[in-house]
């Protein structure tokens, strides 16, 4: 199982409600998106399929007649002149009634279309670059409902005595120092967090967050250096914490959809901000206490 498959498997494992919305992917988040395919200018040259390293595209021996008939041929036409002529002829001849895709007879070269598999796609844009006919676009949208599918809501459990259990990823530059400083200053904050030190907040991978959730933690907190002060990139828009912020926002929207809303949070503190660190932790623990225990605890209990 490759990494993407593992991640999707974990997402399915932790989902407690069926997602319905197609999510916007924040600007700096790469690797997640949708390929939009226009069959009408496509010459079925298979360049995109050859370029795709994760086999997220394949040839389909059908002709998408509805798209052909709806197409507006741009000024200057398509690059595929024969396709353009075929489409305009079909449009001229269009009669009454509904139109459906038809299959191409076996042995007839030069016709077909391309199909895209959402869950295999890593939004690398290679197919878009390979396409000579401008049929493909990478859109910043993530089709979560298709990927997760139908979710069976786990049985709810009533826990009488419960304390939140939270994994807190701290970067080993500023935020770890801030946690240390909080200790040195003898500041008190709830004992519900377990810190995991990572080189940079940007180094936290989605699969690690999902693994934590899968194991029944009630929330995941990611902390990093102050924005614009990342030790790996500084004020570069692609610095570790800037990027992770967008990623966490993305995963927050995913969590919202799959019934884990509010259980993921990112915040920032510099090495001198011991007080801020205790505030971040306290606020998050309070929030989790309000939301209640992870619904996955019930699932885990049933499974064990």
């Amino acid at each position: 199982m490759d990494k993407r498959e593992r991640l999707i498997q974990k997402l399915r494992n932790i989902a407690v409600q069926t997602p319905t919305a197609i999510l916007e992917v924040p600007e700096k988040v790469e690797g997640f998106g949708s390929i939009k395919y226009r069959p009408e200018p496509c010459s079925v040259c298979k360049k995109c399929i050859e370029a795709c390293e994760v086999e997220a595209l394949d040839i389909d021996f059908t002709v998408q007649l509805p798209a052909y008939l709806d197409a507006t041929i741009p000024e200057g036409g398509f690059r595929s002149k024969n396709r353009e002529t075929l489409i305009s002829l079909l449009q001229t001849l269009k009669g009454e009634g509904d139109v459906q895709a038809i299959s191409v007879p076996t042995g007839l070269a030069g016709y077909g279309s391309v199909v895209w598999f959402t869950e295999k796609c890593i939004a690398c844009n290679k197919c878009v670059e390979a396409c000579p006919e401008d049929c493909l676009d990478l859109e910043k949208q993530y089709d979560l409902p298709t990927i997760i599918g139908d979710v069976v809501t786990p049985p709810s459990i009533s826990i009488t005595e419960w304390e939140p259990f939270i994994i807190c990823f701290v970067c080993w530059e500023c935020s770890h120092a801030a946690a240390d400083l909080a200790g040195l200053m003898h500041l008190h904050y709830p004992a519900n967090i377990r810190t995991v030190r990572v080189p940079c907040s940007g180094a936290v991978e989605p699969i690690q967050i999902m693994t934590a959730m899968e194991n029944g933690v009630d929330g995941v907190l990611v902390t990093g250096c102050l924005l614009s002060e990342c030790h790996y990139g500084g004020d570069d828009p692609l610095a570790g914490n800037f990027m992770q912020q967008d990623f966490v926002h993305f995963w927050q929207s995913v969590f919202e959809e799959i019934g884990l809303g509010g259980r993921l949070h990112i915040d920032f503190a510099s090495a001198a901000m011991g007080i801020r660190f205790t505030e971040i932790v306290t606020e998050f623990v309070e929030r989790i206490k309000k939301i209640g225990p992870s619904p996955l605890r019930g699932k885990l209990e049933v499974e064990s």
Binding site: R79, K81, G95, G110
Partner: protein
């Protein structure tokens, strides 16, 4: 200048068509319109020759191009000519409708005028040719081919598997003829091979094209040789194998069950001991080649004449010589049509139960021996060999030829020929004839300068997406992928245009038949038709230039009348027709479009008939979906032997 020559066919055609009206109507389309009485005779030809200059474009409105094209060839000054068969395709088939027929002639002549505007000179190309032939032998046909080529003075290499000798040749060709004839023939051929270069081993790789194939030869002792050959003859021969039923007949389990050939060599010339019965069990389900049948009959007759009791249990026996069967019967061979269902061995011999399918009854026979005739197939290496050479095989693993009647030794790749049993099991005389035929074809390749001309597909690299649809479609290996671009190999091209119909981007256009020219021509036909005939419906017949066009001409000769609103547009091959041309035909106003191709399996370019059927069925699917009547588009085959086809296919309206 654009010139039109009309011929009255000795004052007959102008009785069927109104030449005055035609002349008046087409005057604006041509710079010169000339009417002659007999274009095919010296008088007319001289007039034509005098009236033409170097850069003229010429339309001929006369009889079929098959007829008038021949005497004209020497008299015209370039290839920018189009023929409108006013006699076979208009006058003679619309005898009752002079007015409409005249209108049709005008429509076709306007089409010809547009066609001339788009016509390009054919491309001429010369390839270098290597005067050397490689024979990939292994059997007697290979020896014959090498021997004949040597006699013709062509340098030849005979490549054979290691360890070939007369004994082995005899063993592998035992089914081809009787032993004496085989031995005599072998000895005679071997004598002529003394000066022929022989190479023991296999071949590694073949690159290049007809006229110059680079072949890597791997010798048995590890030596490698790369040689250039103009042509290759594959004569890898046959091998025999046991039929499937052999195991059930207890072959390998009982010593009394043997193959017929091993029995023959064991018994040699021995006469039978008293009452020895041999049951010959032919595999009931496997179809039999006629050489296998002849061999069976020869062998059993031979045994019967020596006093053995022979029972042949068989399904269908095929033979090329009916006398063999008669002689076998006369010499006492008993034939039972049926199937051996069980064999039991005991001290008396072999008890064989036979299901007689003719009389629907079972019977048991006790035999001393059971003989199993072996079957004949291609040698094991054939598939690998064909793969390396890039030629096609049929379902039985034999090398496929292009057209069984007219191209019996041509493989799917130009310059590579097949001789003898590699194509199918053959009798000795057939194998010899096939070898001679292959030799002549190879000789033609290496000895005639490869200058050819024709309209070729022109590839526009800028437009090309390298989707390889054309490679897939080309039946002749005339397009290849080289350095990530499509390259045309003119030496292999048959100018059929099938590649053009496959291209989705219009990166390949066929000279003189560019998409634009088709569109302009269809529009010219439609507007002229409407101007002259008003609302009368019309149809297009997209006819291939081979069988279909011949059939339409024949309709004229046979006087098979059909409706006038039918315009024949000639395509080099029906495989060149794509949905685009068909739909365009409908868009300009045709009521029907009929795509006429050669009979199934009879396409002169191998796949055109099949491809045009696919294109038409695909187009019909599209029409059905968009709410049009799919019946407006039809595919059909036409053939010269069926002149009534046109009458049947073209809708007749009053």
């Amino acid at each position: 200048m654009k010139k039109l020559f009309l011929c009255t066919c000795n004052g007959t055609l102008n009785k069927l068509l109104d030449f005055t009206k035609i002349g008046k109507e087409v005057k604006a389309l041509y710079d010169v319109v000339e009417v002659v009485d007999n274009l095919c005779l010296e008088e007319g030809l001289t007039k034509l020759e005098k009236g033409l200059s170097e850069d003229d474009r010429l339309a001929i409105g006369a009889c079929s191009s098959q007829i008038i094209g021949v005497p004209m060839k020497q008299r015209i000054k370039n290839d920018l000519v189009t023929f409108v068969p006013l006699r076979e395709q208009v006058g003679w088939v619309h005898v009752e409708e002079k007015e409409s027929a005249t209108n049709k002639a005008i429509v076709l002549l306007s089409d010809a005028s547009v066609q001339l505007d788009h016509m390009e000179s054919p491309t001429e190309f010369t390839e270098s040719v290597v005067d050397r032939v490689l024979v990939m032998g292994g059997g007697i046909a290979g020896l014959k081919a090498a021997s004949d080529l040597h006699r013709l003075g062509v340098e030849v290499t005979l490549l054979e598997p290691s360890g070939q000798n007369n004994e082995r040749y005899l063993q592998t060709s035992v089914f081809m003829s009787d032993t004496d004839t085989l031995i005599n023939e072998l000895q005679a051929i071997q004598k002529t091979l003394k000066k022929v270069e022989r190479f023991e081993g296999t071949f590694g790789e073949v690159t290049g094209q007809t006229g110059s194939y680079d072949v890597t030869l791997n010798g048995v002792n590890g030596n490698e040789k790369i040689r250039e050959y103009g042509a290759i003859i594959v004569a890898s021969g046959n091998q025999q194998y046991l039929p499937r039923s052999a195991k059930k007949m207890r072959h390998g389990k009982s010593e009394r069950v043997v193959t017929l050939d091993s029995l023959m060599s064991r018994l040699k010339k021995k006469r039978a001991k008293e009452s020895s019965t041999i049951l010959v069990a032919v595999d009931f389900d496997a179809p039999m080649f006629s050489v296998e049948g002849s061999h069976l009959l020869r062998s059993t007759r031979n045994l019967a004449t020596r006093g053995y009791t022979i029972i042949v249990v068989h399904s269908d026996i095929r033979t090329e010589d009916e006398n063999l069967y008669r002689e076998a019967r006369d010499s006492g061979v008993i034939f039972i049509r049926g199937k051996v269902t069980r064999i039991r061995e005991n001290e008396k011999g072999l008890t064989c139960r036979i299901e007689n399918t003719l009389e629907s009854m079972e019977r048991e026979v006790i035999a001393d021996l059971v003989a199993i005739p072996q079957m004949v197939g291609p040698v094991n290496e054939t598939a690998l060999l064909a793969d390396k050479l890039g030629v096609d095989c049929d379902n039985n693993g034999f090398i496929r030829t292009r057209y069984s009647k007219m191209k019996p030794v041509q493989t799917s790749r130009r310059g590579i020929f097949v001789a003898g049993g590699a194509k199918m099991p053959m009798s000795l005389s057939d194998a010899m004839a096939s070898a001679q035929n292959a030799v002549l074809e190879a000789f033609k390749v290496v000895r005639s300068p490869l200058t050819r001309s024709g309209w070729i597909p022109v590839i526009d690299d800028e437009q090309c997406d390298v989707c390889k649809a054309c490679l897939e479609a080309c039946p002749n290996d005339a397009l290849r992928l080289m350095d990530d671009r499509i390259v045309h190999v003119p030496a292999h091209c048959e100018f059929c245009g099938i590649c053009v119909s496959a291209c989705p981007t219009r990166a390949i256009e066929f000279q003189s038949h560019r998409k634009e020219s088709w569109f302009a021509r269809f529009e010219a036909v439609a507007t002229t038709h409407r101007r002259l005939e008003g609302k009368k419906p019309f149809s297009f017949v997209f006819a291939c230039s081979e069988c279909a066009n011949a059939s339409i001409d024949q309709a004229g000769f046979a006087g098979k009348q059909y409706g006038t609103g039918s315009y024949v547009i000639q395509f080099p091959c029906a495989g060149m027709v794509s949905p685009i041309e068909i739909l365009k035909g409908l868009v300009v106003g045709a009521e029907h479009v009929i795509v006429a191709h050669c009979p199934p399996g009879g396409c002169h370019h191998q796949t055109g008939d099949h491809l045009s059927e696919l294109v038409v069925s695909f187009t019909r699917d599209m029409l059905r979906e968009i709410g049009q009547d799919p019946e407006r588009v039809q595919a059909t085959y036409m053939i010269a032997a069926m002149p009534e086809k046109m009458q049947k296919e073209v809708p007749v309206r009053g």
